[in-house]
Amino acid sequence: MLRRTFLPAIFVLLAYGFAVSVEFKTITAGVAIFLFGMLSLEEGFKTFTAGTLEKILRASTDKLWKSMTFGVLSTTVMQSSSLVSVITISFLSAGLLELASGIGIIFGANLGTTTGAWLVAGFGLKVKLSSYAMPMLVFGIILVFQKAKTLRGAGYVLAGVGFLFLGIHYMKEGFDAFGQGIDLAEYSMTGYPGVLVFAGLGIVATVIMQSSHATLVLILAALAAQQISYENALALAIGSNVGTTVTAILGALSASANGKRLALAHLIFNFVTGAIAIAGIFQLMEVVSWISSHLGIGPQNYTLQLAVFHTLFNFLGIIVMLPLLGPLVKFLEKVVVADEIEIERPMYLSGASGDIRDAAIEATRKETIRLYDLAAGIITDGLSIRRDVLESDEKTKRIVKKSTDIIDEDIDELYEKKLKALYGAIVEYVITSRGGYAKGRMREELNTIRQAGQHVIEAVKGVKHLRKNLIKVMRSDNQFVKKEYDRLRRQIIQVLRDIEEARHSQGLSRSVLPLDQVKLEIEEKTREFSHGLDKLIRKEYIDVQIATSLMNDISYCREICWDLVEAGSVLFSAYDLEDEAALRSVALGEDDIIEIMEDSNTGAAQ
């Protein structure tokens, strides 16, 4: 009930807001454009997954000090910690980064953003990024229309950043009226109440202006004009540091669970840092004047002292929060639960030493078995059959007959995020990483397992093709075609169940050999399907167009089954390495199976 009324209620409220306030319209449009920018940015970064960008990011963020340095440098260059944090959120959403690395970048960005205070205080410089929005959008959109994937990806990134700036620009415009109404001199106060009020004001001002830099300029201007005391200015700086996290929170609205976790980490970090700075503001002031005197900053030069203070309390925040990074990650994972598909990461490869033959082979095998299990789930989803079918004792025919509802899963996304990423890690381990030094039989064995992984991937790709027509058929009224597609579904499910049976049996029956029997059955069934199809065409139960689709799908079904059996033969053999080699030399290939069938036909004819 609440769910059904929520969206219309929001629409009505927004429409009312648009009617009564022009500023409201501008602000909400700004938020919408900003969120669209986030989506575009994420789309762009997805193009680079497993590519050069990922490699660069991984290399520059694989250790905490590296990710922090990355955060410091990128924020110094971009002069916007908000932008660095939203880009980091989209990196996380696209699966290019780990959460801990992301948090490292955010820690670094907080330190990096203090360079802005030095620039503004020292040189009065301010890099105005919003003026780049329009050219970025134009160049970005032109690139989006290009055929080359990399160019298109770069286009999405460029347009995304452009939209982010444009969104921030509109939000600022909308809030302008409120911003002009803020007269800091009116609130000048001393002692802790003053610190708290001004910290609050700093938060509000930064939320409104969407830029801690803008607040900083305001603070410095007010300080120079002696509208506020030095103490109040410091409190404002603390507040602006907390307020700047709003942009990241806004950016996380459309992000994945990890993106949301990062935004929360950003808020926690800045909040804790702010709390420490407020609690120890008077002590910090003394430290600042001590450092300033050593740096040659005059006691009356409050603007540069403010920059020292800004750097000092952010640095203090990092020192306090760094030891808590591990618990923080755990806390975030507990608080923000993933409700969308997460990128699958290897579980066994990272800890396995490539120098030890059995450990490397076992790790690769276990990881590929994980790949197989994930694929089996995706395949059943793709065929619109519930996942627990593989453990059930119910007859396959009955299960398929009962499964008339389409399972609405995004198979393409599951394939991209679950399988491709994991298989990529396996291939990388076998070919380029430590496993790459493997020689002789170890090399051979690793390659065989990798090939099994390839079969798994091919099987899922086949299901993706098959699913297109299957969904159409499941929605249609043609019972003849439905029946044929049910037979195809049954065949694939049966093969999965046969493999599962072989996997859980003992001795010779748990080896490549019983799966040869499955291969023969696949070929016999395929022949049956083709004969059935001829009959349907002859009797004009189906038109030629459907017949062509069915013909293709029979072929897909055959390939899917073969790929699954080939993968199962390698992955679920219980014999040791020497025996496995012997077993594989006895296992039947496609030609052998066809030979058996031909022999049977000849026998039957005679």
């Binding site: 010779l508 020497e578 012997a582």
Partner: protein, 88 residues
């Protein structure tokens, strides 16, 4: 001939490749033995009182096992030839 056999034996002990070959040979023999036992079991089942569906199923399994054995024996012969220094 006797010397040749002795020499082969010595080669088996010393060469890593030969050792691997020998391991494969004995593994294959083990597999073939299991297959033969499986085949015999099925033939015995066929001789008993069974329904048509089971008969068809066993027939199909027998075809596969026979083919596997044929293939295995071929590989075994090749390994034997290699070990004895015969080339095709």
């Amino acid at each position: 001939m006797k010397y040749q056999k002795l020499l082969n034996k010595l080669k088996d002990i010393l060469s890593e490749e030969r050792q691997a070959q020998l391991e494969k040979y004995s593994s294959l023999k083990k597999v073939l033995k299991s297959l033969r036992a499986e085949k015999k079991k099925m033939e015995k089942e066929m001789a008993g009182d069974i329904d048509d569906d089971t008969r068809q199923e066993i027939t199909s399994k027998l075809k596969v096992i026979s083919k596997q054995r044929k293939k295995g024996l071929q590989v075994l012969q090749e390994l034997k030839d290699e070990r004895d220094g015969k080339h095709k």
